[in-house]
Symmetry: C2
Subunit: 228 residues, 2 copies
DNA sequence: TTTTAATCGATATATTTGTATCGATAAAAA
DNA sequence: TTTTTATCGATACAAATATATCGATTAAAA
């Protein structure tokens, strides 16, 4: 090791986002495979299962620091724990949810989040009809209480499942309250200070790709039929 | 125009996926702005609102064929209709949903899908407790009826909101029934024939990016504090 | 009318991401 | 024990995507 290689620089090597987005896929697959009591898995097999390129899989997994064995592949348990650690899915982080409509309720009911290191501990809304209700064991509180509770419970993650008109205002409340990261299910782009993390769930983006690709496919099929 | 420039080739210029994923964002913004009775918008303003690069916005919008006016920008209505047309959000496409759990129910209750050219017309499940129930005005039918109904109603889109264990089997039923495009909310990777479109909603991917980025941020902040 | 300045859109460059090549390694077969 | 072969991982190359530059255009100001 060179003498002037600082450990700060070592931390700075950011993980490419496409790679980061493949990590959950790897974890899902590896957990499934572990149940079938396989111990090792090769990059080729992973690539095959997820329809990726095996070189890409190897490059991605290289980031975890887990080293593979020639002719065998990687130790599944090692990979799972390394990947979970990178995503911080190996310990539980509390989150507050704002917007107790249908999507909000669905997320509150989705117990598997614990598997992904997320623990929704409270829900908030403005609507008097919703306040006081209990959804999947979590009481809906008035939005005014948000700030105090963030401070008291030292919560870092806020989830926005409110309609687009309300989303920006809610984001601002979250930022003021000390929330550090926002998971945004509203379709609008949130404007927040540079140091606040925003991750969009992008449902409409995904839907857009689907509807566009399908319509192109159907057009092409019609074009082919007409030519015959 | 050159004589051997076929119109097939013209159709083949695929839209880059990152661009396609930004289109919904543009539409959301433009619709909001239209309400404020602005007629023209510049790429600079769009970039500013969505925190993108103005050159990128211009390049994206160039794909629509809409031409901007120097010093003014683009006609908002023209952009909205061109973008909606590309995404096929200007006419309604029917879809069937499989998996009437909490997420499925949330999607059934999400009336705004009509705005995105999607119309969920029926829901299916295996669970006898769910079959027969009505969710947001849509009756839950037994999965066995899926095939017949796809054929009869000529539905092209299937939505999977079932748990991961069931997802692959459901995908196979969908493909056999003649579904052309699947919107997959399960966390697993679906294996389907090459000509079937699969679009993943990728909730856990998005969550992974969030939890990872947050944990890095917190780590860094602690490191800075310790140095002082 | 002339000048100014904001914007477009074409072309060129840089960055990021993905894919290919190939020697080294070690498990399994001969 | 020796040979074979599947796999890793480093390095090199290719493709896709994002960013920069700059002349042309035209609305609005002078």
């Amino acid at each position: 090791m060179l003498e002037n290689e600082s450990n700060i620089e070592k931390e700075i090597k950011m993980i490419p986002e496409p790679t980061l987005r493949r990590f959950p896929q790897y974890i899902h697959l590896l957990k499934r495979l572990r149940k079938e009591s396989t111990q090792y898995i090769s990059s080729t097999t992973i690539a095959d299962e997820l329809e990726l390129d095996s070189i890409q899989v190897r490059k991605d997994l290289a980031i975890t620091g887990v080293v593979g064995k020639p002719k065998l592949g990687f130790d599944i348990d090692e990979l799972i724990s390394a990947l979970s650690n990178i995503l911080n899915w190996d310990n539980s982080t509390d989150a507050f949810l704002v917007g107790a409509g249908s999507l909000g309720s669905a997320l509150l009911g989705y117990k598997n989040f614990n598997q992904y290191g997320l623990n929704i501990v409270a829900a908030f809304d403005n609507d008097p009809n919703k306040i006081g209700k209990t959804i999947s064991g979590i009481e809906v509180l008035p939005l005014e209480k948000f700030g105090n509770m963030v401070e008291r419970m030292k919560v870092h993650i806020g989830i926005i499942t409110a309609p687009p008109e309300a989303a920006q205002k809610i984001a601002e409340v979250m930022v003021q309250s000390g929330i550090q990261a926002i998971w945004n299910f509203s379709s609008i782009h949130l404007k927040v200070p540079f140091n606040i993390i925003v991750e969009d769930a992008l449902l409409t983006q995904s839907l857009g790709v689907l509807t566009h690709t399908l319509s192109e496919k159907l057009k092409k099929e019609i074009a082919v039929l007409e030519k015959q």
